[in-house]
Symmetry: C2
Subunit: 410 residues, 2 copies
Amino acid sequence: MVAQSGGPTVAINASLAGVISGVTKSGQYDTVYGSINGILGILHDNIMNLSELVKKQPDALSTLTHTPAMYLGSCRFKLPDFLDDDSAYIYIFQQFEALNIKAFFYIGGNDSMDTVLKLSNYAKKIGSDIRIIGIPKTIDNDLMETDHTPGFGSAAKYIASSILEIAHDTFIYAVKSVTIVEIMGRDAGWLTAASALARNEYSTAPHLIYLPEVAFDKDAFLRDVKELLETTNNVIVAISEGIHDADGNYISASESSTDTFGHSQLSGAGKCLEYMIKENIHVKVRSVEVNVLQRCASHLSSKTDLDESFLLGEKAVACAEEGLTASMVTLKRTSNTPYQVSYGHARIESIANEAKSVPTEWISEAGNDIREPLLDYLRPLIQGEVPVTYKNGLPMYMNVSHLSNSKPLN
Amino acid sequence: MVAQSGGPTVAINASLAGVISGVTKSGQYDTVYGSINGILGILHDNIMNLSELVKKQPDALSTLTHTPAMYLGSCRFKLPDFLDDDSAYIYIFQQFEALNIKAFFYIGGNDSMDTVLKLSNYAKKIGSDIRIIGIPKTIDNDLMETDHTPGFGSAAKYIASSILEIAHDTFIYAVKSVTIVEIMGRDAGWLTAASALARNEYSTAPHLIYLPEVAFDKDAFLRDVKELLETTNNVIVAISEGIHDADGNYISASESSTDTFGHSQLSGAGKCLEYMIKENIHVKVRSVEVNVLQRCASHLSSKTDLDESFLLGEKAVACAEEGLTASMVTLKRTSNTPYQVSYGHARIESIANEAKSVPTEWISEAGNDIREPLLDYLRPLIQGEVPVTYKNGLPMYMNVSHLSNSKPLN
C-alpha cells in the first residue's frame, strides 16, 4: 500500500511511479494499492489498485513521473497518539490484513513522517510484521538525515529560472526600481537561497536574499536597498515568506480593509517589504508572490530531481523486501564534482517532527546573501531537463478525475 | 532603425530578430541600428549597431528569438503633439539623417502605435521619405486590424498550462475550496478567456470566467460559486485584473494597513473576490495573482506565436522596401482548420489609440464563461513548443548587460 500526504511537489508522483515499478520487479509483492487522500483513504475505504492501472495503461508510469501534485490526493491529518485513542490504528491494521498488505509506503514531508513513526510504533506494539517506510518529499528541503529532498530540485530550478525571467522583465525600463520576490518556505530558507542560482555573466539578480534563518532588520534592509540603488537601476530582492524579526514575529502587514468587507487580513512578507520601500525610498516598487506553480510546474522540472525521486520509490520497496521498517529512505551525496548520490535509509525517530535549517556558515555575515558553498550544494540539484509531452499545446498529465469525485471530507 | 516599447512579452524579441533577418536579406538596407529604451534611445544618443552584433555572434538571431522581454529595453513615453512642441521630432529626424536611416520600425502595443502615427504625420509634414512602420506585440491581444497580436499566443499557452497545473495542485484535498486566479488584462479579457483552454477530459477548471467586457455582479458571482460547490469540491475561478461593476468601478479592496505604515493600499480583484468568499461562503479560499511570468516565461512559449512574430518582423522590412509607411504589419487568419494566416498591413490611423474587446457573442449569456467560437479562435495560437537551450540547468537567454548599464532616466 502506498499513499501521499502534505503539500504538492513536482516529484512526488515520480516516487509513486518508483514504488509501483519496485513492486512490479519484486519477488515478494504482487500488487500495490493506493490509498486516496493519504491515510484517510484507508480510514474511508477509498483505495485503488495501482497494479491494474499500470496493466491497463502501459505508459502510466512515465506519465505519472511527469505529472505534478499528488495522483493519489493528499491530506493534512495527524494521527492521535495511540495511547490516547487507538481506534484509527485498529481500523488501519484491519484494512491492511483484509487486503493482505505487507508493506506501507508514505510519501511526504515532516508531518507525514510523524504518521510513519506512529504507525511503526503501533506495529511494534501489536507485533505486526508489516513494514512501514517513509519516502521523503518537500520543496522546503528541510528533512533530516537526507542530503536533500525530492521535489526541492525542481522547485529550485523553477525559482532560479523565474528570477532570471523576472530580471529580464525588470531590466527593460531605465528607471530606478525595486522588485520583491516572495518565495515559499516558512521555517527554512533553502528554496529562497536557490534564487542565487539565477546569477550569470550579465545579471547579478537577486541582489539581496533574506532567509528565515536570520532575524530580519528593517533598517538594515532599507540601508542595503538604498546603497544598491546608487549603482544599480533595478534591484531584485528574494525573500522567504517566513522571514521574521529578532523577536520571532513574522514580517507581515496586518490590514483592515476599508470597504464593505471589514475583516482584518494578513498580507505577506512581500507586500510588507513593498510598503516599506514605498514609505521610505521613493522609487517604483513591485512585489511578486511566486504562486503555487513553484511547487506544481511540471513543465519546468529538474531531471536530476525526478530521476532520484523515482529511484527512492524503488529503493523503499527494496528496503521493505529486506525487512526494514520504521525508516525513511534517504539520499547521501558521495561526490559533488561529478555529482553522485547513494540511496540509503535512516531511523524514522531521528526524522519525524525535526527540521533542517540552512546552516549559519552558508549565509553571509550581513545576513542578506548566501555563500559559495551553498551554491555548490544547490547547483547539481537543478541540472537536466525533462521532455514534457504536449497535447493540443498543453502538457499532458495523468487523469485525476478519481480525485474530483472524492467525497468531501469536511 | 528599430526599437521596442511598452510592456514585455515572450515574442517581442522574435520580431526584433525578424527585422534584423529582413535587413540582412534586403537589397536596399545594409545596417540595422537598435534604439535603447524605445524612442528615448534616439533622443539620448543610446543606439547600438545590431548588424555588427549578429556578425560577431552567429547564434544571436536564434537566442534572441527565445529571449523574453525586450533586448533593446523599453519606455513608457508619449511624444507630444508636434503642433505644440516639435523639438523632439526635429532631434529624432536629425538623428535619422546623421545615421542615414531609411526606415524606422517600432515594435509595441497601442501606445507605441500612437508614436508610429505621430512620427508618420511629422514625416509627411516635413516631406521625409523615411518609412515608419509599426510591428504589433501585446499579451493583451487588443490591437485593431490584426487577427491577433504577437506575444498573446505564448501568454495564452502559459495561462492555460498554469490553470491546468493549479487544478492538479487544488484537486489533492478532499475539502471544499475556491481558488481565484487573477490574470492580466485591464480592458480586454482575451488572456483570461484563454484559461478555458485548460479544460480537458478530467478537469472542467476553470469553472467560472469573468472578463472586463461584462459588468461584474457580486451577488451573481456568489450564487454561481455556491451552486458549483454543491457538485464540485474545488472550484477554480479565472478573472481579469480589470473586472468592474456596472458603474465602471474596478473590483478592488481599498485597504489601510493598521501597522506602522499607515498608507492606504489598493489590492487587486483577486484578493477582493477572496475576501468576498471568506465573508459569504465558509470554505477554504485562496487567490493567486499570476505574476509577471505570464508575459516573460520564455521557457513555455508557443511555437506558432514565435514563428509568426519573427515573420512579422521580416514582413515589416519587406513593406518598407516596397515604399509603405504610416502602417502596421498585420496577421490575417485565412483558415482555422488547418490554421493558416497571411501577413499584411493596415493604415496606422485605424489602429493607434483604439482597442479590441472580446465580442459579446463570444461570452456566455450569464457572463461567467466563454463560448465555443472563442475557443476555436484561441486554440491554434498556443500550438507547438519551442526547444529551449539550457545551460547549467537554466534557460539560456541573450546577454542584456547593456540595459543594466543604461543611465537612469528618472
